[in-house]
Amino acid sequence: MDLYDKDVVSIRDFSKDQIEGILDLSQKMVPYALGDKTRRILDGKILGNLFFEPSTRTKLSFESAAYRLGCDVIDVSEMSMTSISKGETLADTIKMVDAYCDLIVLRHPYEGAARLAAKFSINPVINAGDGAGSHPTQTLLDLFTMREAKGTLDGLNIVLVGDLKYGRTVHSLADALTMFGAKITLVAPESLQMPDDIVSHLEEKGCHPRKTAVLEDVIDQADVLYVTRIQRERFPDPSEYNKVAGTYRIDNAILREAKNDMIVMHPLPRVGEIAPEVDGTQHARYFKQAFNGVPVRMALLSAILGGEMRCRRIRQ
């Protein structure tokens, strides 16, 4: 249960209980994340943001989460660029940054970078995305957003739409949703469907996702519509891209088929997957989802650096 001094590398490292514990703690963090209350439990601690790839959202929300808890932040991203150009190994960079802070948040272009960093760092490491690998804090905030909107994850009908092949967030999200008994529908053109090894992994865990290319066929049963970006680079032929991107554009017309309380999520940034007219509807949750990055990351920081989840069982 306790996450004190633990690394956060992959969502697979967490038990269902641990995830629930983090989501509960995240809920408690909301008023502090909004600035309505203050709680400087990490006063005197230093977080090192080590980003080898640009990422506005993730980096900012870690900074915001840290400051809300009174934790200082050093941005060592500049240094990471110089270490790469000097040919320094990640292992060496990590050992050095480790000496300057109490926790490292790492974004890196290569898969497995966070696991390696955790091995060389004495202080805990949080994976903020490693190449096409995993991005566990995104998964946690996605789960939090769904649970917050629906009260539970059990039995929810989740429709994942877009690039299910390369999108790193949907793979670990599907994995985690399975743990919570959600029903999953995969909507994508054949060329961007979820890879077989991931689907069979879901099946082993008792989830039998439904696959289709036609969103209209399934949208009326959805509780959550999780939209991902379809990247232009994946298509050698631009006209093919335009066709696919156009097919899954979410607008008010297609939402007429949806349940009233169906929510639309998107990890952002969006590039035309969701029409701006959707923003004002009761369905839109993607900006709330982006905000939720703060309480969820606050929960992780306070559990890892402050031992917040330690006495949970005793207190209950």
């Binding site: 190994t89 292992a91 290569y110 898969e111 497995g112 696991r115 091995k119 690998g133 090894d197």
Partner: protein, 159 residues
């Protein structure tokens, strides 16, 4: 049946001293040869290879290799286990089987193969050995402990 068996075994000449690698998964003999790393420059004894030889075991067919005057070190045997998990190693001394054991594959494999994901951090010059968890033995499936990918094509990625 017994005579039949004897006839089959005679297909490869007996050796006085050396090693027999038997019950190699069918089709893997040449990959085992790669692991043994023998070439005309570094060996001056005889090697016989049996490919697609009838087997008395449930697999029906197997490959086998007999090498004269050589015994295998443990790293070599561990690599063989990665592509032929049921192989037996018999050390022959003076025509008799002096020692015999089945290769053993641990649940955790370190430093024997590289990850097949080119974007994996273990392929980027970092000071770590690639590590894998064995997720299945028949067929062999290894999962990279760093990037979480299943290693495709073990025999092409042996170190």
């Amino acid at each position: 049946m017994q005579t039949n068996q004897t006839v089959k075994e005679i297909k490869l000449a007996p050796i006085r001293n050396g090693t027999v690698i038997d019950h190699i998964a069918c089709g893997q003999a040449l990959n085992v040869m790669k692991i043994l790393g023998v070439s005309e420059n570094n060996i001056d004894s005889c090697i016989s290879i049996g490919i697609h030889v009838p087997s008395t075991k449930e697999s029906k067919w197997k490959d086998l290799i007999k090498i004269e005057d050589r015994e295998l070190d443990s790293a070599t045997v561990d690599k063989i286990a990665l592509i032929a998990p049921d192989a037996t190693i018999s050390i022959i001394r003076d025509y008799y089987v002096a020692e015999k054991y089945t290769v053993h594959l641990d649940d955790h494999v370190s430093g024997l193969a590289r990850c097949s994901n080119p974007n994996c951090i273990t392929n980027k010059g970092e000071p770590v050995a690639p590590e894998f968890t064995v997720v299945s033995r028949h067929p062999i499936q290894l999962r990279c402990c760093y990037c979480d990918r299943i290693l495709t094509n073990v025999s092409d990625n042996l170190l």
